[in-house]
């Protein structure tokens, strides 16, 4: 695509640089981990992001899953597919569960130092 629209090639992000949505996901995931929820699925993190930012809308599918994909490729989160029996017992599709890695936690802490995230809503502070 960049071949046909040269502007896209110039807009391409540098490797190793987190865009705001990725940094937000990472910080949110670390918060969840501290609250005793080490694993999360895509819709859950979208809901958390909406609640934290007090936004009206959930993150778009493409934006969310592309960001998660990029975070996983960078080794900041890891994922696994839920046990099919668990999903079947709850009569729902299988979830892809993500978890922040040690590296992801360090990067989240660093990104928090550089640009603090919006204040969490009361009751959502880490323990």
């Amino acid at each position: 695509m960049g071949r046909y629209l040269p502007i896209l090639a110039r807009m391409r992000r540098k490797k190793g640089v987190l865009i705001p949505i990725e940094a937000a996901i990472l910080r949110c995931a670390v918060d969840l981990q501290r609250r005793g929820e080490p694993e999360f699925h895509g819709f859950f993190i979208a809901k958390e992001l909406r609640d934290r930012d007090e936004a009206r809308r959930l993150t778009a599918h493409g934006t969310l899953y592309k960001a998660l994909d990029r975070l996983e490729k960078a080794g900041l989160v890891q994922s696994r597919w839920e046990d099919p029996e668990t999903a079947a017992s709850e009569r729902r599709p299988r979830r892809r569960l993500y978890q922040v890695t040690g590296l992801g936690e360090r990067v989240a802490t660093e990104s928090l130092r550089v640009s603090p995230s919006p204040r969490p809503k009361p009751g959502l502070e880490p323990a």
Partner: protein, 207 residues
């Protein structure tokens, strides 16, 4: 807009932009979006949100994510291309070595077809068994066609391709005194059987 309709639009879009990329990556993305749609619907029901509002939300999430989906698709396709390019030479040889004897046996079949035909035309006046010559000529052509068809189908229908190559190679085994063609025939048959047992089945990846 009803949430079912918005979900159906989203599903169609996911199936569209994940076409012709790695089957596992595609199945994984489809399953992940399916799970997201289900969770969204459940949240809507639990929160008592107006179904038409929920439908619009799902549709907005789908539409707003389209540029990212296309960028993701572009990256996934690029990765698949580069991984194909990086396929180790050993794998390529292990997968394709048998094509060489199969092609040589096919050429041998064509050569015998032409030889029989030439012989038929050249000795037409003196040849008492014209019908036999003609039948032999047609048979060698058929064996060559079997091998060509088998090679053409080897990725799409490995089982059928293997059988065709075996059928086209077996007659070469009968010409034992010629030494090389029977050996090539054995190699082609062994390779075809190996291909039949190891080639991945061209079925759809499970969701």
């Amino acid at each position: 807009m009803r949430i079912e309709l918005a979900s159906a639009v989203t599903r169609s879009w996911v199936r569209l932009y994940t076409r012709r990329i790695d089957a596992d990556v595609r199945a994984s993305r489809i399953a992940e979006i399916e799970s997201d749609l289900w969770e969204h619907r459940r949240e809507t029901e639990e929160a008592g949100t107006d179904p038409s509002d929920a439908g619009l939300q799902v549709l907005a999430r789908c539409l707003a994510g389209m540029p990212a989906d296309l960028a993701w698709r572009s990256g996934a396709a690029r990765r698949a291309r580069s991984s194909r390019r990086r396929e180790p030479m050993n794998d390529l040889i292990r997968r394709s070595w048998w094509l060489v004897p199969a092609v040589l046996v096919g050429l041998f079949d064509v050569m015998l077809f032409l030889a029989q035909l030439t012989h038929f035309f050249g000795l037409m006046e003196f040849e008492p068994r014209v019908g036999t010559r003609l039948a032999a000529s047609a048979a060698w052509l058929l064996f060559a066609v079997c091998i060509a068809a088998g090679l053409a189908l080897r990725d799409r229908r490995p089982q059928r391709a293997g059988v065709l190559v075996i059928v086209g190679s077996v007659p070469a085994l009968l010409l034992v005194w010629m030494v090389v063609p029977p050996l090539l025939g054995v190699a082609a048959i062994v390779g075809a059987i190996y291909h039949m047992t190891t080639a991945p089945s061209p079925t759809r990846a499970p969701a």
